[in-house]
Amino acid sequence: MGSQDEDRFARLVREHSSAVGNYLRRRLYPLTPSDLDDLVEETLVVVWRRLDSVPADAELPWMLGVARNVLRNARRAKNRRSAFEATLLPASHEASAEEHVVADTSVRDALAALSDDDREVLLLNAWDGLDTHALGTYFVISTNAAAVRLSRAQSRFRELLSAAEVR
């Protein structure tokens, strides 16, 4: 690859590596920061290898899609029981236990009760900041379809949240 490619890759890394790291962090708590660095690096290796495929108008969601596959493959490689095994050792710089204990349990319960698909699209929007266009790139669907999917997920989340707060 030429210097133009290297320049573009360097820009992608500088602009989006934090978002990729945050994305991975939200979905998998590594033991240490170096574990997270490894996952980010693995994602960027794929980005570098497939630089020509990165769409200019949707770089971040495309990179998050790569990160998603990195996570899937890592989980697939270790075990196919991941849905049942979610507790991980915390990194040493995580927020205190107290902060988590006092967290919003209604939101947490409503989130946990959502389907995987609804939770994914909801959190991609709320946490990773993907708008409907970016969601369309991420899921490889149209913007309109992404908007519908997000809207439905938000509606279901609101319903579950209301139910959780009634209890």
Binding site: N22, R25, R80, E85, P90, A95, A97, A103
Partner: protein, 410 residues
């Protein structure tokens, strides 16, 4: 931003500590100046770390499965590296908690309902296909996909066979190898209602038919049926519904941590399928530790996770986080202690990789219990622990450092 979006944002695990790579220049240089670098090394590194964190915490140290004489029985001793007490990871109680948990430290007590354990149980070595590319081609043909295998990862780990229609078979030749079939969207029937889908018994027969063709010899149990409807106007116009099932792979009637999944469309065509590629090889019968000893091991692992000398990144907030439980750690701001009484147990098989690269299914105890949270509410969960008698297991403590604070996972 709406109220619920604010509240969601407040739960963002990354918000408190946004990710920043420590040296982007070096990272960029490392990736761009090593064009011949395959992903294999890094990938396996990640894989091992993830495995060590997420699964039942057994990775075998370099140096291997020491073929010592175990307690005079001639059984080989399994040299297993404990990864900071990761044996006892909790499985979320589904579906109410999903995969999202507040991290807590547990104080386990064996309840009276724990049943008597069997004295021994078989462990099984897995036979893995010797050639990933050949196996990819073989499995692809079973699903009607003909083509040449392409090494998509450039490291002879991941293989893909794509047929003329666009249907494909992926074969991941790492850990326990996994085959994964995906039909081309163009071949899928659309605009059917879930009620048009094949019955569960039809789907079950489909699975049995394919398993027979695959010929691995394992059985499946505990099916979980469902339906999925997805809408897309880019790949396949209209909506697509599938009937889905996931089975646990069973060996000698015991469930394992391996799974087989199938999805079919309204015309009973397989849309997606995946599963492990192994057959069961030799087996060894190991003595098991008692259920109570397993519970004790859970507690030991909990305590070792939070040594009193653990560094504290955040100062204590002054609130006593212990609520009635016995805090065995002197760490001042460690996680809250939650009492758990374990009242049910079962035996299953978990996959462990040994240092010679061989993969084994080893028996683990699955404990189910009720935890009483700080606010007095209760929820159920399951925890598991290697059941093999410790005298046949050589455990080396990991040098990996764990933290001291809680996280929310999902």
């Amino acid at each position: 931003m709406s109220d619920f979006e604010d509240r969601l944002a407040a739960l963002d695990p990354a918000a408190r500590q946004p990710y920043e790579h420590r040296d982007l220049d070096s990272l960029i240089s490392k990736i761009t100046t090593q064009p011949d670098r395959t992903k294999n090394r890094l990938w396996r590194n990640i894989e091992l770390k993830v495995a060590s964190i997420l699964i039942a915490g057994a990775m075998v140290t370099a140096g291997g499965v020491a073929m010592f004489q175990g307690a005079g029985t001639g059984l080989p001793i399994l040299a297993i590296q404990s990864t900071s007490g990761a044996h006892s990871l909790k499985r979320a109680s589904l579906p109410t908690m999903g995969a999202m948990q507040i991290y807590e430290e547990f104080n386990f007590t064996a309840g009276p309902a724990l049943t008597a354990t069997t004295p021994t149980n078989s462990s099984y070595e897995l036979q893995i296909p010797s050639s990933g590319s050949n196996e990819a081609v073989r499995v692809a043909k079973i699903f009607g996909v003909s083509g040449s295998p392409v090494n998509t990862s450039a490291d002879r780990v991941d293989w893909t066979v794509t047929g003329p229609s666009g249907s494909s078979l992926d074969y991941a030749n790492s850990w326990v190898p996994e085959w994964s079939y995906a039909a081309s969207p163009a071949t899928m029937s659309t605009d059917f209602l879930p009620s048009d889908l094949p019955s569960q018994s039809t789907l079950a027969n489909d699975v049995q038919s394919y398993l027979a063709k695959l010929g691995y010899g394992y059985t499946v149990s505990a099916p979980s049926f469902g339906t999925t409807t997805s809408t897309s106007n880019t790949t396949t116009p209209g909506s697509t519904s599938t009937a889905d099932v996931t089975y646990s792979v069973a060996v000698d009637g015991m469930s394992t941590d391996q799974y087989v999944s199938f999805s079919v469309d309204a015309n009973n065509n397989v849309v997606n399928a995946s599963g492990p590629a192994f057959s069961v090889g030799s087996s060894l019968v190991y003595p098991l530790r008692s259920l109570a000893a397993g519970v004790a091991a859970l507690n030991v692992e909990q305590q070792s996770r939070y040594p009193a000398t653990s560094p504290q990144a955040s100062p204590p907030t002054g609130t006593d986080l212990n609520a009635g439980g016995t805090n065995t750690s002197t760490t001042p701001s460690g996680p809250p202690i939650v009492d758990v009484t374990l009242n049910a147990d079962s035996l299953s098989l978990e996959t462990y990789q040994l240092t010679d690269g061989s993969l084994w299914l080893l028996p683990v105890y699955d404990y189910t219990g009720v935890e009483t949270k700080l606010d007095g509410s209760t929820s159920s969960g399951t925890w598991y622990e290697l059941a093999v008698d410790p005298s046949y297991v050589r455990v080396t403590n990991s040098t990996t450092s764990g933290g001291t604070h809680g996280v929310i996972n999902y």
